[in-house]
């Protein structure tokens, strides 16, 4: 399966036997991140294209690497699903270099990355045909990288 936004796509590919592995591609990290949450939505409900936009949420955070930023972004989507019972889609995403971080930030720490996004969606209700309950994004084979054709990410979801 490969679907998503005009400028970015995602597909579910073979990975660890019990889990769900996603590959997302797009022209920018932001497009790839948006496609990754589209994949979460597609794993969670049938007909994700029918999702309403009655609820909006803004999020912003920084992490030292793009991979950790992607984990945090997917974690945010799952948190909204469990804690607020919301199914969301990225309405806008911006991924930028962050100001230098102090302390023990790890690899690539000096600059770090910042994500600012608006999510739009609706509360879970009986009209949604629920498919899979994604538990968490794992670090297995986690990758966010620039390629000849743009950017791509790979992440395995524990389901």
């Amino acid at each position: 399966m490969s679907e998503g936004r005009p400028e970015a796509t995602f597909s579910f590919v073979e990975g660890p036997t019990s889990d769900l592995t996603v590959e997302a591609r797009g022209p920018t990290p932001a497009a790839v991140f948006a496609a990754a949450t589209d994949a979460l939505l597609a794993a969670t409900i049938a007909s994700p294209e029918r999702l309403g936009t009655s609820v909006r949420r803004r999020v912003a955070f920084e992490e030292p690497t793009l991979e950790l930023l992607l984990l945090r972004w997917l974690d945010e989507w799952i948190y909204l699903r469990d804690a607020e019972q919301l199914l969301m889609r990225a309405a806008s995403v911006a991924v930028t270099r962050a100001a230098a971080q102090g302390g023990a930030a790890g690899e690539g720490a000096e600059a770090g990355w910042r994500l600012e996004a608006e999510l739009a969606g609706e509360p879970i209700d009986a009209a949604h045909e629920l498919l899979t309950d994604v538990k968490a994004p794992t670090a297995h084979g986690l990758r966010v990288a620039e390629t000849a054709g743009g950017w791509e990410a790979r992440v395995t979801l524990d389901v």
């Binding site: 036997t17 019990s18 930030a105 879970i124 629920l130 670090a139 297995h140």
Partner: protein, 489 residues
């Protein structure tokens, strides 16, 4: 990643046990020991051996990196991986525990026999599906505020019994007596609390389920042990369910995984061999904080299963018009799969040692005479539950003295052989439910897609796995449990 030719480089040690020497990849501190028959081991994905060899490089690992007979490719550790660390020199790894912390199985016996249950089966499965929420986003009936939830995290199933959800006797038949002692809610994030506090008493999804089963005469392997475990009549009805710490445990694991990934190379100078093997020295502040948070998640899972048992008792009581006590509904045992515990174990040269035992998709399996067992099981060894697919049934087994070599660990399930996506391509959930109904299994699923993912053909043979644990001396078979009704999460 280092390629390991497997299983060609596996050395047979004795029937049911193989070893991968510690020179197959650089950095291994101990060999890999694989439990399983030749057929099961040959069918394991190469990734199982690569991952187990990676685990063998972790600081403080002792004896061997273990692979159980139901192992399959996971993240970090293989699912079915066991590693024991010296707590003073070793690490604790969220990837060696999993996201669904302390996910586990509870087996419940009843006085009912199949002929009494059969006329009520449909109604019973309907009522269980209605009273035990399953699937994505479902909330439980227990209402606790944030402080109340912190009590759940501190006290686990002990909290549940105190709140009226069960009997004190249930605690005696639960690992760790229903409560992990090191839990500290201050070590968990507000996000984890907010994510988990509405989910007490819910099954979840994936491979989580609640099943009504029958012990057929032909399925009893050891009548003496079966009687000791409360399986004491022909065609007896039992209930088994599998679930974990829900969103709370997933959030604890996610929070600490990200933290450890950031700190490993700088604070502790630990190489990040594979990101999903992120770890912290057990004695570090962060390692201890994760241990305390993980213990909170373990307690959430124990409370969850205790509350679900309470609902099961209510449903059976409603349907049969008799109290749960009159129906003889009692916990046989509650075992957990995904955790790390400080355990007192025999030392190779005599005496004892305390090790931090990581089990990811593996079951503790205490031998006869172990002091942690309740009196009723002191002679028998610990009841072990190996959950098979919802089509093929499950096994009740017992711990063996020969299991010391595996840190008293054994298999936990039949192990997937096929991805969820592949399984969904092969069968539609609706068709599978019909096929199961034709074979006398009533099933209610939160999602058709989720049902298809759990089809019997997606798993190894549970018979083969249970037998392999016996051949290797990890656990002995007591009874095969045949499904007749299933609520699929």
């Amino acid at each position: 990643m280092v390629a390991i030719p497997a299983p060609a480089s596996l050395v047979p040690v004795r029937p049911g046990v193989f070893e991968l020497p510690k020179d197959v990849r650089p950095g291994m501190r101990v060999p890999v020991r694989v439990y399983g028959t030749e057929e099961l081991v040959a069918a394991m994905d190469d990734q199982v051996f690569i991952q187990a060899a990676n685990v063998a490089t972790l600081p403080g690992i002792v004896d061997a990196s273990l692979v159980m007979p139901d192992a399959h490719w996971g993240y970090g550790f293989p699912i079915g991986g066991v590693a024991a660390m010296d707590p003073d020199t070793g690490v604790i790894s969220p990837g060696g525990i999993g996201f669904d912390i302390n996910c586990g199985m509870r087996l419940v016996r009843t006085d009912l026999v199949w002929s009494e249950l059969e006329p009520h089966l449909e109604r019973l499965v309907e009522a269980l599906a209605a009273r035990v929420p399953a699937g994505t986003g479902r909330r439980g009936f227990v209402r606790v505020d944030e402080d109340g939830f912190r009590e759940v995290l501190r006290d686990g199933a002990v909290w549940a019994v105190r709140a009226g959800y069960g009997e004190p006797a249930d605690l005696a038949y639960t690992e760790s007596h229903g409560r992990y002692p090191n839990a500290d809610p201050d070590a968990v994030s507000e996000r984890a609390i907010e994510r988990g506090r509405h989910q007490i008493g819910t099954l979840g999804s994936g491979n989580h389920y609640l099943e009504i089963q029958v012990v057929r005469d032909a399925g009893v392997h050891d009548a003496r042990l079966a009687r000791a475990f409360g399986l004491d009549r022909p065609e007896q009805v039992v209930v088994m369910f599998h679930c974990g710490s829900r969103g709370f445990g997933h959030q604890v694991a996610s929070d600490y995984l990200r933290q450890f990934l950031k700190l490993m190379p700088t604070r502790w100078g630990l190489p990040v061999l594979e990101r999903d093997l992120a770890c912290a020295p057990f004695r570090s502040d962060e390692g201890q904080a994760y241990f305390r948070a993980m213990s909170c998640a373990a307690n959430m899972s124990l409370a969850n299963r205790q509350v679900i048992l309470h609902r099961i008792r209510e449903v059976f009581s409603d349907v049969f018009g008799r109290s749960a006590e009159e129906l003889g509904i009692r916990t046989v045992y509650d075992v957990a799969h995904n955790n790390a515990r400080l355990e007192r174990l025999p030392a190779p040269g005599g005496g004892e040692r305390i090790l931090l035992v990581h089990r990811k998709g593996a079951t503790r399996s205490l031998p006869p005479g172990h002091p942690e067992l309740p009196d009723a099981y002191r002679e028998t060894g610990q009841p072990v539950i190996i959950g098979g697919s919802m089509e093929t049934g499950s096994y009740l087994l017992a711990g063996m003295s020969t299991g010391a070599e595996s840190f008293y660990s054994t298999a936990h399930g039949s192990g997937r052989t096929m991805s969820r996506t592949q399984a969904r391509k092969r069968v539609h959930g609706r068709h599978l439910a019909r096929r199961m109904a034709e074979r006398g299994i009533v099933v209610r699923a939160a999602s058709w897609a989720g049902l298809a993912e759990e089809a019997g053909f997606a798993y190894k043979s549970v018979e083969a796995v249970a037998e392999a644990t016996e051949v290797a001396g990890l656990s002995r078979r007591v009874a095969h449990l045949v499904p007749v009704g299933n609520v699929k999460g």
